[in-house]
């Protein structure tokens, strides 16, 4: 008779399931991005049952068509439940419209986002100023459900729609001197009351940046949609960046300029408080913000009597895909 003893080492201890699953997802994701229309990674966008009382943002006609033609990139999407739509559109850090979390949803409703022009500048073969519509036309929009981790230690799961920044950059022919990408938000104090404030330590316009390899990474998403619709103004309409493995402030909103540069650009929060906000700003539970710990985060929406406190993952859980970008770099020094 065969007596079965339990294995001294559980198989899950040898390779945690999350890692091998992630690796497979990553490979699938790469394939999916390359040939999304044919690949198994693509799926239809789910029909969201958006709260009827919440404001809807269908967007201009040309964008609606493109959103409808979009597909879901299952492989690069997390299976976690997205935050309710109403929470995603009323809990925003968009200081151009005020520093309160609900200020942007109150003050950005008349923000004019169409027509919208974007300048492509710097170390590219084809610089110029383009209508957003023309910039977007050649790209298939993908839905990606990403985790967003704010530097303030809260996080949300959000279904974005966009396309890889790398695909756009390739079209304009980066030169060999292009080492970084700098992004600029619209400067318009008349529309953006926060930019006219006397009591802010931030310099406007808001500027963010990425290293070239970060910009070319398939996870880095130029975003025009949310929950299958156009981006609401408070979420950075009409055109924003989403870099899921970095703190939220890297994901710059309402972009009017993309410049490829040879040197590391000066970025807004880094200029304001260099000891608190680094250029890289990779999500890292081991490097605390000087005023608070980054080891855990509160997943929103929070329920009052059982707050969803979860351990923060290195690179916000996207380490398998992006950690190799930083091999040999001291992440404590380059936080």
């Amino acid at each position: 008779m065969l007596i079965k003893r339990p294995d001294p080492i559980k198989s899950s201890e040898i390779t945690p399931e999350s890692i091998y699953r992630n690796r497979r997802l990553f490979l699938k994701g790469l394939a999916g991005t390359a040939a999304l229309a044919l690949s198994e990674g693509a799926a239809a966008i789910p029909a969201y049952n958006l709260d009827k009382d919440a404001p809807q943002y269908p967007g201009p006609d040309w964008l609606q068509q493109q959103l409808r033609a979009g597909v879901r990139n299952e492989a690069l999407s997390t299976a976690e439940n997205p935050a309710p739509y109403v929470n995603v559109i009323t809990h925003n850090n968009f200081y151009e419209f005020g520093t309160g979390k609900q200020d942007p949803s109150r003050k950005a409703q008349n923000f004019k986002t169409d027509p919208w022009r974007v300048e492509i500048a710097g170390e590219v073969e084809k610089p110029g100023s383009y209508n957003l519509e023309d910039l977007l036309r050649p790209h298939t929009l993908e839905e990606r459900v990403y985790r967003l981790r704010c530097v303030e230690a809260w996080s949300m799961v959000i279904p974005w729609m966009g396309f890889p920044l790398g695909d756009l950059l390739k079209r304009f022919g980066p030169t060999s001197r292009a080492k970084y990408v700098a992004f600029t938000t619209l400067l318009d104090p008349e529309q953006m009351p926060g930019q006219g404030g006397f009591f802010s330590t931030l310099d406007w316009p808001y500027i963010e940046g990425l290293r070239m390899d970060e910009a070319m990474h398939p996870l880095t998403l130029l975003t025009v949609g949310l929950y299958g619709n156009a981006l609401p103004p408070q979420n950075g309409a009409p055109f924003r960046l989403v870099v899921p493995w970095k703190y939220g402030f890297k994901s710059i909103k309402s972009i009017v300029r993309i410049e490829l540069t040879e040197t590391m650009p000066d970025t807004t929060w880094n200029l304001t408080a260099p000891n608190e906000y680094g250029f890289y700003a990779n999500v890292n539970p081991k490097v605390d913000h000087p005023r608070w710990s980054q080891a855990t985060e509160r997943r929103l929406p929070s329920s009052l009597f059982s707050p969803r406190i979860i351990d923060t993952q290195p690179f916000n859980g996207y380490g398998d895909q992006v950690a190799s970008l930083y091999s040999g770099i001291d992440l404590r020094k380059w936080f």
Binding site: T99, T201, R291, S293, R298, S302, L304
Partner: protein, 209 residues
């Protein structure tokens, strides 16, 4: 005669209740909003911030009693100083309980880490800790028992106010408008006392000479 006295007493009793109920209005509003699920995606943070700012406001109201009484000769205000002080403690305790319950979910490891590592939380906790003996000794009985030491002990309210203000300032991310306004009010509340003190000393010296 008896009738008018009773009417006056009734009036003053009604007034006392009015003042007593006023500081409970913010709390009632908060509970109402929380039950209506109308505090946004992060009600935990909203509740903690709300109880925090009302602690500071009630502390300032408490500190305003003496200057207002002197400037406008509103001697009746004095009656409500202890009440406002105790409300300050009440909201401060709510603030801490809300933080411990809604933000860290009573996870002791997190609570200890937050209380020891986040500088503004250390400062805030210290302010609350110092406020407790003032609340405990606020009764007539303690006042009598401590004699002149009572006034000395209750001067702790000044460092407490400074710590609470520091707790607030230390959380600035970019806009410092609110903190500036509160800071100016506190500067006036403390400055008034300092100026009175210096002035008194000067006149005292003149009298001696």
């Amino acid at each position: 005669m008896v009738l008018t006295l009773t009417r006056d007493r009734l009036k003053s009793l009604a007034f006392w209740w009015l003042i007593f109920l006023l500081p409970l209005l913010p709390l009632a509003w908060l509970v109402d909003r929380a039950l209506a699920l109308d505090l946004g995606a992060d009600p935990a943070q909203a509740i903690v911030q709300f109880t925090g700012i009302w602690t500071l406001r009630l502390l300032f109201i408490t500190l305003a009693v003496t200057p207002l009484r002197r400037l406008f000769r509103w001697s009746w205000l004095q009656r409500y100083r202890r009440m406002m002080g105790l409300y300050t403690l009440f909201y401060a305790v709510l603030h801490l309980l809300a933080f411990a319950t809604f933000i860290v979910g009573w996870r002791t490891d997190l609570l200890l880490r937050e209380l020891s590592e986040r500088p503004y939380i250390v400062v805030g906790s210290l302010a609350l800790l110092l406020l407790i003996p003032l609340g405990v000794t606020s009764t007539r009985n303690w006042q009598r028992r401590l004699g002149p030491r009572w006034a000395k002990l209750h001067r702790l309210v000044y460092p407490i106010a400074l710590l609470a203000m520091l707790h607030f300032i230390w959380q600035i991310r970019s806009s410092f408008q609110e903190q500036l306004i509160y800071g100016l009010i506190l500067a006036w509340l403390l400055g008034y006392r300092l100026w009175k003190r210096l002035h008194k000393r000067k006149t005292a010296r003149r009298q001696v000479a």
